[in-house]
């Protein structure tokens, strides 16, 4: 993205110069944002407009600015961003700029570089030779890295709310409470997932263990089989319960299909032990030890499984990353190309993952706890839908919508 700020002065309203300039920006593939307008009050008073003009390429911007200059536009001189060296590994220089999750550009030598990935609570490391700007966490920074300091030369582009009501992610009230109807919104979500799958987007599911325990794993399996999930983020517990359910019919000792539990808590440990013995979940699937469940379906359908560990995990199951910093690096890398995230019944992972989401990633959060939904949604206020509900009916209805067989509840 390349941008300049222009100013127009004079009788730009009566001469129709302002609309002409805006039209020219759009017809030449650019975008504009009017940052200031002062309209003359009396007939002879002059008016003023300051407009941010942006285009995809530097050449397009140069050509456009040339045209706009002919219409009297004056180009504002913009300052470069300031940098300072990181004083030590893992330490940012004083006054380092802290990112939001909004799209951010830093300016050097008259050109703007987009900061990638667009994640919150990071500093910005720049490589002027490569022309790159990275959002970096403490663990990323090395002594001597050039880190942006202060606010000069930084442009933040907030996500704009859509003016049409066609996008379910931009509803004004984006949390659907427990007592509100959900079928219509679930249909919209299904429609969006269908569209994304066709358009080459990447859908990630962040799954909490309640999915397996409530017996909703089978619906997640249907989504996986329908190719609606590209990446599955979850923890040790989910994987362990899911394998336990596949091997013993229970999850954490409970069988959702029968009223009386059999086997008790020991089944979980036996399940973990079985996978540890096999070496990995994938190998357990290949050796036909694991023949059902979400993990099995994920392996069978090439869903990228990302397992994040936590204190208190039993095992862990092979494949779980237990180093916290390592987990952050994995989340950052694995969320980079994701366009849609469905957060299902897990506040802990939802918040961790939210910290690595760019502001244009569309998010659905489902949780039975209203405050959990609220906290997850507030990070992406213009790109998210929250549903306060048990995850099982949500997934059941979503799977039905996506498979085209709407089942009455």
């Amino acid at each position: 993205m390349f941008s300049e700020t222009i100013e127009l002065r004079g009788h730009i309203i009566d001469s129709l110069i302002l609309p002409k300039v805006l039209d020219q920006i759009l017809t030449h593939g650019g975008n504009f944002k009017i940052t200031e307008v002062q309209i003359g009050r009396k007939r002879a008073d002059q008016s003023f407009a300051r407009i941010e003009v942006s285009t995809e390429t530097g050449e397009a911007l140069d050509e456009l600015i040339l045209r706009l200059r002919q219409q009297g536009a004056e180009v504002m001189e913009r300052a470069n961003a300031q940098v300072a060296s990181a004083p030590a590994d893992g330490v940012f220089p004083l006054e380092f700029y802290v990112t939001t999750n909004q799209q951010t550009f830093v300016r050097f030598d008259g050109k703007e570089i987009e900061v990638t990935p667009g994640i919150i609570n990071s500093a910005i490391a720049v490589d002027r030779k490569k022309g790159s700007a990275r959002a970096v966490k403490f663990f990323d920074v090395k002594k001597g890295d050039a880190i942006v300091v202060g606010h000069q030369g930084i442009r933040v582009v907030p996500v704009q709310r859509a003016t049409t009501h066609t996008d379910p992610f931009q509803f004004i009230n984006n949390i659907v409470d427990a007592e509100e109807p959900k079928s219509a919104i679930i249909r919209e979500i299904a429609e969006e997932l269908r569209r994304v799958r066709g358009a080459g987007g990447k859908i990630a599911v962040v799954a909490g263990p309640a999915i397996v325990r409530t017996g909703a794993g089978r619906y997640l399996v249907r989504l996986i089989e329908g190719k609606y999930i590209d990446r599955l983020f979850t923890g040790n517990a989910f994987a362990a319960y899911d394998v336990e359910r596949a091997l013993f019919g229970t999850s954490l000792g409970l069988n959702p299909d029968v009223a009386i539990a059999r086997g008790g808590h020991e089944n979980q440990l036996r399940a973990i032990n079985a996978i540890r013995e096999a070496g990995s979940i994938a190998r357990a699937v290949r050796e036909r030890l694991l023949t059902s469940g979400v993990m099995h379906a994920s392996v069978q359908h090439d869903v990228d499984i990302v397992l994040i560990g936590a204190i208190g995990d039993e095992g862990p199951i092979p494949g779980v990353t237990t180093d916290v910093i390592e987990c952050e690096k994995i989340l950052r890398d694995k969320l980079r190309d994701v366009t849609h995230v469905i957060l299902l019944a897990t506040l802990r992972y939802s918040l961790a993952i939210g910290a690595f989401l760019a502001n244009n990633v569309k998010t659905v959060c489902v949780d039975i706890d209203p405050s959990a939904v609220e906290r997850a949604v507030e990070r992406q206020p213009l790109q998210s839908i929250g549903l306060v509900t048990d995850v099982e009916p949500f997934l059941r209805e979503l799977a039905d919508c996506l498979s085209g067989s709407k089942v009455s509840q």
């Binding site: 002065r9 004079g10 009788h11 009566d14 001469s15 129709l16 110069i17 609309p19 002409k20 007939r43 002879a44 002059q46 002919q70 219409q71 009297g72």
Partner: protein, 267 residues
């Protein structure tokens, strides 16, 4: 009585090419040009007091006095010519105006502006053309100097490179013009400010019909626009068509050869 400034065509001729009309292969007939200018001078002298500025050698276009600047009341804003071939005219006009008790108000040097050629009052608005000769930035400076509403219109046909070649306001609030010389925005901006605009047919516009001098109800315009003349007569104007062929070869006609002193008493 209105006062005008003209410059005798003693040194007039096509000596360079700075607009699509000029061609060194089709130079003006000097004696015919002299004759046509004399008729213009005689016609205008019937309604106005005509002043003459002394022509200068090597400044063949000095005859087109409209481009020398803009006069409002006793204020004269000299032009900053875009082409170096004409830049030499500026000091002679400025000196003449000072000698005749006008206050000279200079534009910043970097802003191109070609006087009445690109600045015409219609109603209470100063219409200003831009792109080929004047810069739009000069309009803002003019508006500040005069304190009036200035409507900037983009000229899009290089044959009609000055506003006065395609637009002529009338004292009744209307005017006549060749709309295709303007872009869509310019056309809309003019229409919003003026009532009863007469569209000039393309073939008549090519005879520089819009390049007319309007003195109350008398209109002195180049010959070759019978349809326009009829329309103007229907609106109560007396038309005085004059042959202008030798000046059209340089891209000018009646209005280009005439500067109002002043164009308006007050902006």
């Amino acid at each position: 009585m209105r006062e005008l400034l003209l410059c005798p065509p003693d040194y007039y001729g096509i000596e360079y090419e700075i607009n699509p009309w000029m061609s060194l292969a089709h130079v003006a007939e000097v004696s015919v040009a002299q004759e046509q200018w004399k008729r213009l001078h005689a016609t205008l002298s019937k309604f106005c007091k005509v002043h003459l500025i002394a022509p200068q050698p090597r400044l063949p276009d000095m005859v087109f006095t409209a481009n020398a600047g803009l006069t409002v009341g006793r204020k004269f804003i000299p032009s900053n010519f875009r082409h170096k071939e004409r830049a030499g005219e500026q000091p002679f006009f400025a000196k003449w105006m000072v000698e005749h008790d006008y206050k000279v108000d200079w534009l910043p040097e970097k802003l191109y502006f070609e006087g009445e050629g690109d600045a015409l009052f219609g109603n209470d608005v100063l219409f200003c053309g831009y792109k080929f000769r004047s810069d739009i930035q000069s309009h803002r400076a003019i508006a500040e100097m005069l304190g009036c509403l200035t409507i900037s219109v983009e000229l899009v046909d290089p044959r009609f490179y000055h506003l006065d070649t395609c637009f002529c306001p009338l004292p009744d609030g209307g005017g006549f013009w060749y709309p295709d010389a303007f872009d869509e925005y310019g056309q809309r901006a003019i229409r919003e400010q003026m009532t009863d605009l007469v569209d000039v047919a393309p073939e008549e516009a090519m005879h520089f019909s819009c390049n007319a001098v309007v003195i109350d109800h008398d209109i002195v315009l180049p010959a070759g626009a019978p349809q326009l003349v009829t329309k103007l007569q229907e609106r109560g104007y007396r038309c005085h068509p004059l042959p202008m062929t030798e000046f059209i070869k340089a891209g000018g006609a009646c209005k280009c050869l005439t500067m109002f002193m002043p164009q308006r008493e007050k902006a």
